[in-house]
């Protein structure tokens, strides 16, 4: 009995020893060198893995930060300038500052202003509703209210308002990662510069139909009258397809 145990132990230990030698040799032979700075950079990033920077995740972004000489176009919207400066000092590179941005919903077609004349009963996602028709109201550009933007938000920063039927952005929580911008089938959501005192200066409409048609569908639609365009002294407003757009870089009211 004792002998059986002894032999077992000896056999297992020798297999273990042989395997460890083989594993060590293989590990040495196929060793992959990875820049330790990538780990450091990744550590400093927010680990949100939201993809807001345009990379597959924070690790992927950290690799790009280490490998690229110029950081032009590289920015972590979640961490903001603070995080970028921290990573820059770690890696001895220079961060390019960007003004903080926030998502805005460019539609104000609440049931009060944009009457709903039918009930959507299909699969509850905006993408499918968009492929079917103009929506419960008559505006072919307005918010469908099925909440695709809410589902994709990793930061709990956008919610449907049950009264208006429109999504509402929590400016404190919004990191401007842009997930909602991609999710919206009607391109209603835009990332704009954050203004002081939470001022929001933007045209809350993206409807491109002629004034009379637009007004019929929604009483707060931009009718493309060009009044704002004519009066702006800084040329911050452009008119395109019956729609005014305010460039947040040129607008002086901050």
């Amino acid at each position: 009995m004792n002998q059986t145990i002894l032999y077992t132990i000896i056999t297992l230990v020798s297999i273990g020893a042989a395997a460890s030698v083989i594993l060590y040799l293989v590990a040495q032979r196929f060793k992959v060198y990875e820049d330790p700075r990538i780990d450091e950079a990744e550590e400093a990033l927010p680990a949100a893995n939201c993809g807001g920077c345009g990379f597959a995740g924070c690790r992927n972004f950290a690799e790009a930060l280490v490998k690229r000489d110029s950081w032009d176009g590289l920015f972590c919207p979640v961490g903001g300038n603070e995080t970028m400066a921290k990573v820059a000092s770690l890696l001895g590179k220079e961060a390019i500052e960007q003004a903080p941005r926030v998502a805005v919903v460019r539609c104000y077609g609440t049931p009060e202003f944009r009457p709903r004349y039918n009930v959507y009963d299909g699969a509850h996602t905006c993408t499918i509703a968009h492929s079917l028709y103009t929506g419960e109201g008559g505006c072919p550009h307005g918010c469908l209210g099925e909440g695709d933007c809410v589902v994709v938000c990793d930061f709990d920063a956008i919610h449907m308002d049950p009264v208006t039927g429109l999504p509402e952005v929590d400016d404190e929580k919004c990191t401007a990662c842009g997930a909602c911008v991609t999710a919206c089938p009607r391109d209603i959501i835009e990332l704009r510069k954050k203004n002081k005192k939470d001022r929001k200066i933007y045209v809350s409409c993206i409807n491109e139909e002629k004034g009379a048609v637009a007004k019929k569908n929604c009483s707060v639609a931009c009718i493309g009258c060009s009044k704002c365009f004519k009066v702006c002294p800084y040329e911050a407003i452009t008119m395109n397809n019956n729609l005014a757009f305010i460039d947040s870089d040129l607008c002086k009211l901050r």
């Binding site: 039918n118 492929s131 079917l132 139909e209």
Partner: protein, 452 residues
């Protein structure tokens, strides 16, 4: 073993895989085709067919006659559009159509009923044509004929057999497997002689010797009528077991010839071209009577409707006009569907015009219109059992929800014919087809991106 006496229906031909049998509810069956007078104004969309929208030829203020071209084909897969009324062009602008969006259309104020001179408006039957195949195809393009079964694919394209392929059979689709719809049934009863002449024209245009008319067994009078006119000719009439979606061309080819169209292929890959009876009737009018496609037969139906009817309607007539003619909109109507209950689409407005692809207008009551609450998938695999294309709808829906479009392509989502049998049969009322359709669109986008 001796077969039980009621095995007759078992021996009827049908397609092999999947399928469902929803209640037939052919309320307007037996109603004659009633000619509907033109309304006060018509709206004729520039995109009534699959392919490139046509180019408009008229402008505001122009006087037009019935049958006059108002838009021309903007490519090979495109077709001509003719004025269905005489009068004055009010506007060329965006109007709501059955896509649910406002798109380019021509609005015409109706004044009188003056036709262009070339059209033969008599009812005299012209049984034979002397035209060659090429001339027949040209006439079909000129008349703006598209597949009237609902897919609206330009017919001249389908009649042009691609090089390297050979057509052996012409199949005429008189299946009408959608519940409620009876437009094709009425056509087969009232215009069987014209249809037979049309079939011969198309056989000549296609260069085939054999033709089969497929009709489901719930229309014995139509089978009888077609058999009578085709007796002694190479055109065969075949009764089929009632099963949805037998009117899908791939299913019909399989039911009649036991040939399977390969994945991603068309019936021409197995030597077959399929046309709907409505299209055949339009081809007869175009080739023999010089009459362009300006009207079609539309079934207006619904359980609460006073007079479910089959109307011959001018293209561009608003749907509300049809409902008025069928006894008015019942109060309990909750949904108006363009097409049949299985594949049709709800309309967002009753001002939407009848187009070339409108086969029926169906009114549903509140209880019929509502979808049931969506419950979790219970993995019963009913959707797989009924899919006529052998796909796995439950999997495709999940993949679509998770945006895994590459995997969807591998799972052959593009073979889906959107018949809706999966959604119909699902005990958890899951919106399977809605998501599959979304995925199909995304996969098509992927493929286009890869090509460019």
């Amino acid at each position: 073993m001796k077969k039980p006496p009621n095995s007759l229906s078992m021996r009827l031909k049908t397609f092999a895989r999947g399928g469902v049998h929803p209640p037939e509810l052919k309320l307007s069956s037996g109603q004659p085709i009633e000619e509907l007078a033109p309304p006060e104004t018509v709206v004729i969309p520039l995109s009534q067919h699959l392919g490139v929208p046509s180019e408009v030829l008229v402008a505001r203020g122009d006087e037009v006659k019935v049958g006059q071209p108002i838009a021309s084909a903007a490519g090979f897969v495109s077709t001509n559009i003719h004025s269905s009324v005489s009068g004055k062009v009010l506007k060329v602008d965006n109007f709501m159509d059955s896509t649910g969006y406002r798109r380019m259309a021509v609005q015409i104020q109706v004044e009188g009923d003056t036709w262009i001179d070339t059209v033969d408006r008599s009812d005299d039957l012209v049984p034979k044509t002397v035209l060659s195949g090429g001339d027949i195809r040209k006439k079909i393009l000129e008349a703006g004929i598209v597949g009237l079964g609902g897919a609206t694919f330009p017919s001249h394209v389908k009649l042009t057999v691609p090089s390297g392929k050979k057509a052996e059979y012409l199949i005429i689709n008189g299946v009408e497997c959608e519940p409620f719809l009876t437009a094709d049934h009425a056509l087969m009863l009232e215009r069987s002689d014209e249809l037979f002449s049309g079939i011969q024209i198309m056989m000549k245009g296609l260069g085939v010797e054999k033709a089969i008319v497929g009709i489901e067994n719930n229309k014995p009078d139509a089978i009888e009528a077609m058999k009578r006119v085709t007796a002694g000719s190479p055109v065969k009439v075949q009764g089929l077991k009632v099963k949805y979606p037998q009117g899908g061309e791939k299913q019909l080819v399989q039911a009649l010839l036991k040939r399977e169209v390969p994945s991603g292929g068309l019936p021409i890959d197995v030597g077959v071209v399929v046309f709907n009876v409505g299209t055949v009737s339009a081809v007869y009018d175009a080739v023999m009577k010089n009459r362009p496609l300006i009207e079609r037969v539309v079934t207006v139906t619904g359980k609460s409707l006073v007079n479910p009817s089959n109307f011959r309607v001018r293209i561009g007539t608003p749907v509300s006009h049809l409902i008025e003619a069928a006894g008015g909109l019942p109060e309990q109507t909750a949904k108006v569907i363009n097409g049949g209950p299985m594949m049709g689409k709800a309309l967002a407005s009753l001002d939407v015009p009848v187009v070339k692809g409108t086969s029926g207008i169906l009114l549903l009551d509140e209880t019929e219109a509502r979808r049931k609450e969506v419950l979790p998938c219970i993995r019963c695999a009913k959707c797989i059992g009924v899919c006529p294309m052998g796909l796995e709808p439950y999997l495709l829906m999940t993949l679509s929800e998770k945006a895994m479009y590459e995997r969807m392509e591998e799972e052959k989502v593009l073979d889906c014919i959107e018949c809706g049998s999966c959604s119909y049969t699902c005990p958890s009322s899951r919106p399977l087809l809605d998501y599959i359709r979304l995925g199909k669109g995304e996969v098509n986008k992927l493929i286009r991106a890869r090509k460019s």
